[in-house]
Symmetry: C2
Subunit: 350 residues, 2 copies
């Protein structure tokens, strides 16, 4: 997997440089209705002005086969060849779906990702996972295919609500926990919504590097890459539960609460230091508040965890930490321990 | 690209061995309406009896998004996981579409190909190209994804018309020309429709090995793999022309005439030996007859060649040979030379 990542707020110039070094006949740019209006006009690129635009509807509910088919159709009708290049400009929905379209058009053409949300910059746009939702399931259809180039910036984040910034920042907290105490200190000393784009770009560079190191060792998620699931067994369950309860919490908020819960488990089962757990809990309470659950919700949460994709036979499976930077894969968690951990997480954030 | 190929007429035993060595939870078998009836009952496999069957309509006109979607749906509804395995039993349409379904289900699950036509055994099932037709174009949507195992046999070829056997055999002639004079002698000393399954299996093993060597050096068709296009610039044009004229010729027949034409060009431009050209022309006349074209058809043929996928800017591009086993990629052919070569091809086979 070769994937160049450029960190810059001169996005147009970076894009022109990337395309000049590519064997590109025919350029297509995929954006959603939001980024087509708010971001595309702000990218000052010679190449982009001559590209064929493909605008798709915004929102995760459109991350499906109908939209994918419309992109394939636009590429085919637009005369795209094996030497054409696709530029995806948007959040994770655009980079996932546009990446999948490029990965499967004529058995794969080059694509470049320009993530416009913090979550996409730190997670979706990097690492080669593409996909669409199908049959009611997230990313049920997809491919492993890296963008040949990812251009990461913070200059478009002003188009986003502050809640979105906090949500993306939770994945940076996760990467810091997988990296070590230096990264953990750096990330926890920054406010998710601070208006410091250059500092945030620095932190992003360090954060994405953590993911890159892990993905490089395990591109198709056979082993180590599952370390990136830290916080997500509990996080996904909280996300699904609140969705069932008719109150949506952003993905990253659920991950933040999941990180606290799994750090508690790490302390209980692997002697993860209580001082680090305490700092994490305090930071999450301050910036993410509470999931607003009670112990009556525990049976439903545990049931959701048993159906997590990491679970093979109905057990609860978590990535945990011995220390900051020292993950342990495939821990089976008994229900009593999970219940205790959820209690302690709530003590921290409620 | 790791792809194990087993040559055997004990297909069921080979399949059971392959699956026993795989981390398989949940087995699905994809067949078309023909192979489900004629071939599946003849595969004596413990595993296959417990597999979930997915039967798709036969025929290239069904190699499209609707059928692919129905396979995705069946896998998803059938509870397939990342540890499930798909077995494709059929000709190139089944291995291409079933391979594409497996390559994109949950970002790729393992699949095994059991080709049941000679063409699929020697070509489609091996080498990692999967795909479907889209927007009226062949394999417009697809992925490079190798089957983890291909089980090649000759025991099901008795279910095919003799014309199908000859068609597949033309690709074996092509591989022999790319290999060298020993392989060329072996392949031309065998009758395509001879009832000698064991001898044919030997020849198949040598033939597929030629393709494997080339694909291993260039899995995603950046360079050397285009050697496998030998005969196909002219072949595809003849196939399309006869289709437009309302008389369908099998793919391999068009390739056989294409091989003769491109061997003539090889002789004209690269001193390919006339003795080898002569033996090829004689063999093709005997087993494949004539394309039944006249010089009135040449302008349409040349126009089709200019739109071949290998052409970048409207020129005619062919793979040629200096000698048997010594291909030269990316020869630009001027119209006069192509016209002369078509004349001489017709002198051989008419």
């Amino acid at each position: 997997m070769s994937q160049r990542i450029t960190y810059t707020n001169q996005v147009g110039a970076a894009l022109d440089r990337a395309l000049a070094s590519t064997d590109c006949f025919g350029l297509f740019v995929i954006a959603d209705t939001n980024t087509a209006q708010l971001v595309l006009p702000r990218i000052d690129s010679e190449w982009l002005r001559q590209a064929t635009p493909i605008v798709i509807p915004a929102g995760d509910e459109h991350k499906g086969l109908d939209t994918l088919t419309s992109v394939w159709q636009a590429l085919s009708d637009g005369g795209a060849t094996r030497h054409s290049v696709v530029v995806n400009v948007g959040g994770g929905m655009v980079t996932d779906l546009g990446g999948m379209a490029a990965a499967t058009f004529k058995r794969g053409i080059n694509f470049i990702n320009i993530p416009t949300t913090l979550l996409a910059a730190v997670d979706a746009a990097v690492g080669g996972k593409t996909g669409i939702n199908f049959n009611g399931l997230k990313n049920e259809i997809g491919a492993f295919a890296p963008a040949c180039e990812v251009i990461i910036s913070t200059c478009f984040l002003d188009t986003l609500p502050r809640q979105e910034l906090r949500s993306g920042y939770a994945e940076m907290v996760k990467h810091a926990m997988l990296s070590g105490s230096l990264a953990f200190n750096d990330v926890l000393s920054h406010e998710p919504t601070a208006d410091e784009p250059d500092r945030l770009l620095q932190l992003l560079e360090a954060s994405v590097a953590v993911k890159q190191r892990i993905v490089a060792q395990d591109p198709t998620e056979q082993g180590l890459r599952r370390a990136l699931n830290l916080g997500h067994t509990v996080g996904h369950a909280l996300e699904s539960l609140t969705l069932q309860q008719g109150r949506t919490v952003p993905h990253g908020y659920a991950v933040a609460w999941g990180l606290v819960t799994e750090a508690v488990l790490s302390h209980m089962l692997l002697q993860f230091p209580s001082s680090d757990l305490h700092r994490l809990g305090t930071y999450v309470r301050e910036h993410y508040g509470t999931p607003g659950i009670t112990c009556d919700d525990y049976p439903a949460l545990l049931e959701l965890m048993r159906h997590d994709k990491k679970s093979r036979q109905g057990e609860i499976n978590c990535t945990l930490l011995r220390l900051l930077g020292d993950p342990v894969l495939d821990n089976t968690i008994v229900p009593d321990d999970m219940t205790t951990a959820l209690d302690i997480m709530r003590d921290y954030v409620d």
